[in-house]
Symmetry: D2
Subunit: 322 residues, 4 copies
């Protein structure tokens, strides 16, 4: 098998990821939408991986104004083939059987969905797409017509961040600092003042759990904080200000107070994590601490409290009963 | 939220998953299709997880005849809402703008897609769905009308087994035996006779790589076998029968011969892995072994050889060489 | 095989270690020195493990006054057998051949050495012995005659913490918080003010490495802090107060400034780690960062600076050559 | 500290250890015993690491005849300082107090012990020393005077392979093949015929456990094989030939039959592992399988059977049972 000596090495695999040398001339002249259309033509070919990566790198370099233009063009220039769609509609109207329904559904699917799937193939594809949706969502209020693009992204992310792919992990003082730092940043229900405050929330009479996804291993998606107590505290302040129990103090908590839950990824807004997190955490606590008798919420924010109560009730109806 | 202390905990989290005690009465009387419809109504509620698991357990217990019936009913009883679809068609025909296209696509999507996504949420969801599709594909020849169901499953699996979620792993003599055992089982190009034969294929002058997916950590999806040689061998037999080089023999291979590639999961037929695997393996070899000058195939099976040559050529155009 | 029903379950293996139920009656009455003597008689028997553990637990419960008594008795009551030793001396004096030397050395060895080796067998044996020596060293100034006991402990710890058993690990912002917390506590050359200060010391233009031992996995033994710079800084303050480089700033440092090194375990005083750490870190940096041209120290503490310079010079003479 | 930019870095840290380029001239002329004496003078200096490694590499290249000579000279040329020893004897005889005993013990210790400790510092030090002792033990029958050297090595290895540093690991079909291969090689009580035979011994109704040491991570030190049964089998053949239970067969074994135990490292002969392994395995089984009621041995080899019975009885006295 001969190889032209004109070929340049473009991709090299470094220890922790792909280092991509810029293939400059052509790409510099080609706009990002043209690159996306070319990607759709490549489909499953191996060359698609580096093109996908190049598109995401190019996107990151776009100005806010150019990003808006990019989303506008994603909305209007990635329409399904009209002739094929009209024919599928006609066939469906002639005979609405399962096969014709399926042909119609395929014909109506926007090529944007395919585009996003192809973009995901490169290194850091998933975090880049989540970040792209975060940008898009900031534009939605002023540009509500972009909801079609956002809807496609959400549809895909809901499928990829399916509960079956999430991993529950306990967050503790043994967790790497760069993860803990994110807890401080994302906690918005009861602010974490500093590392001492954080350390207290991870003490032996506290629990913190988060969902992670294999394609975003460094990013908690959502986390919940729980206090283990004897009896129900009268206020959240009482919980937050309680001293750390002595290390050799053996206590048998009977109550788990869910006092805070926070989503961490604005780019995953609309993907439901909270219900599943609370269910799995109650399961996990029941397993670990047989002395628990009640699960409760304590929160000054009525809406949050109500939702949390509902989750705990819903969970109760599935896990506990004589 | 109070809980009676009479309640016993039914669900417990075991080391590797949920152990679900059967909640018998209702489920025994309810057929699997009714359970599926109930699951669609639960959607993102936490209770959906145990129902999803129960459906997959029930499915595994079905006779071949009942499985066929189940797939038949998946085809006909999970149609999109006709009224909503017809209205979406009318709106689209009135004004084929991006929003109306999107509304049409959503209205035409079969609830089966949602059903499979919900089934995935339980423990072992993904492997169970892959196994279910393997069953389905065995029925297709005699029941071609089930292709609509198979198409929906394939559509979903292509999205979930996106290249961006796959992990390349080197297979060596340090790999756990239960993984190696699967290589012996799945190798169909050049049979692996026994463990000695396998050991030889994993020696220092050989490479074996596989793709894995986080939701199927114990299952290679596809693997490729490569021989590193000085110069191109004249036949595959020469490669397979070459003695193991001495452990202190320093050799600088200039040729990588891709002599076998095998898909391992019949339930993932149609999801493309081979192109990406070959691309990433050539990248990885070029990085690890700078002395490599040519990548070649040697196979007695013309079709396989042609495809492999094409992959290597396509890859060459992105990675190579002076 | 019959078992007496009088026996109680004493040892159970929990997920992360042995949970030991107290075998109260006999041990409560037996003093710790008697337990040590009994342990020496058990030697390699399996029962020795739980007795060793019980002794270490008992030791931890001793008052400072009782600890002093314990060390006093370790000094005087664990003498080698006088008759055997005198006979070995006589044989050696008659014929000082290698065999008689060896018999003499064995006869002169204090049973304390054996005792400490046996104590190490139980769960948490090594950290408990290191902690015991820390206690002992605090008593030495006022009780210099205890140096014989300290010398035996040091002899053993030097053998166990041999360079060949140490593991070099990079400390970064990805390191678990409970390890990082110890850096803040142990840094005595240039105080780490808070977590922000620590984070700056672990930025991309800094390196921190520590030695760990498999039997103390949660405890750094010694750590060194290095700043990577372009050219030699004029003062340590300039290094400590330098701003964090931008994340995309590509810089090629030519200088590695070793600005702090700290031992963490007072119980391992006298076991030499610093020379080896500096050697391995310079090796590691030379491998990772080929642009490095000089290794330097900057420290206001003359003694520390002199020692560090000597280490770097010594290292240079082994790793660099024309 | 300035460095000429002409210097090239010779030592580089490879992923798994130091790769040492030969510093040829001096070493080629220097014999291995002279190198050992130089190593003793270097002691804790960083340069000792590469010299230690060079000595072990040189040793591996020695012919059997030269190895014998090396051990002979280790015996005679590494004597303690006679004057210092005689003075210590005199002091001890004048006043046999604890301090004088300790001074005597130190004075009588052969520098060989120090030498072996220094040799351990380099990469692969521990496995090389274990291999060296394996060589030595093969020479002992014909050269019984080398027992003094062997005794020093054993003394050191007993200290390093202290129970407190060993890690119990379950061996299963998930264990890497290159470890399993060693089980086949080392099993001498009941030969493992092939991989199928091995697989059967690692099935759900069997247990296999081994001790590992952190400095020999790829080498089991000793392993034990256990069959879980209902009631005591009448013969070992009945156990070995029993069919694999069906994967969904739920059985509650009441008997654990220890049918084989094997030491793997001839270089560690005399270091006691068996008692501790059996103790920890019975603890671990009692924890994992609460239905176990008796532990038994079944072996055609009377000596082995007797020893195993004693171990189980000794263990029983610490772990058991109503």
């Amino acid at each position: 098998m001969k190889r032209s000596s004109l070929y340049d090495i473009i991709l090299t695999v470094a220890a922790g990821g792909l280092e991509i040398f810029e293939r400059t001339a052509r790409w510099r002249q080609e706009d990002i939408v043209a690159m996306c259309k070319r990607l759709l033509r490549l489909k499953g070919e191996a060359a698609a991986i580096s093109l996908a990566h190049q598109i995401l790198v190019t996107y990151k370099g776009l100005s806010p104004r150019n990003r808006l233009q990019f989303f506008e063009r994603l909305r209007t220039e990635f329409m399904p083939d009209a002739e094929r769609l009209n024919q599928a509609i006609a066939e469906y109207q002639r005979d609405p059987n399962p096969d014709n329904v399926r042909i119609l559904a395929l014909a109506a699917e926007s090529p944007r969905q395919d585009l996003f799937r192809l973009l995901n193939m490169g290194p850091d594809g998933t975090p880049s797409i989540v970040a792209m949706r975060e940008d898009l969502r900031e534009l939605l209020a002023a540009n509500p017509h972009l909801r079609a693009v956002d809807g496609d992204l959400l549809h895909l992310l809901q499928s990829w961040f399916n509960r079956g792919f999430l991993q529950l992990e306990r967050i503790s003082w043994k967790t790497p600092a760069f993860i803990l730092e994110k807890l401080i940043a994302y906690e918005s229900v009861h602010e974490i003042r500093d590392w001492d405050d954080l350390h207290r929330r991870l003490a032996d009479d506290r629990r913190c759990f988060a969902f992670f996804h294999p394609a975003l291993p460094d990013e908690p998606l959502i986390f919940v904080e729980v206090a283990l107590t004897k009896g129900l505290a009268s206020s959240i302040q009482e919980v937050l200000s309680a001293p750390i129990p002595a290390s050799d103090f053996q206590f048998k908590p009977d109550t788990a107070i869910f006092y805070s839950i926070n989503n961490c990824q604005p780019g995953l807004a609309g993907v439901s994590f909270g219900d599943f997190l609370i269910k799995q955490v109650t399961d996990s606590l029941a397993e670990e601490i047989p002395s628990l008798r009640q699960y409760a919420t304590l929160s000054p924010i009525p809406g949050f409290r109500k939702w949390l109560d509902e989750q705990l009730s819903a969970t109760a109806s599935t896990i506990n009963f004589s």
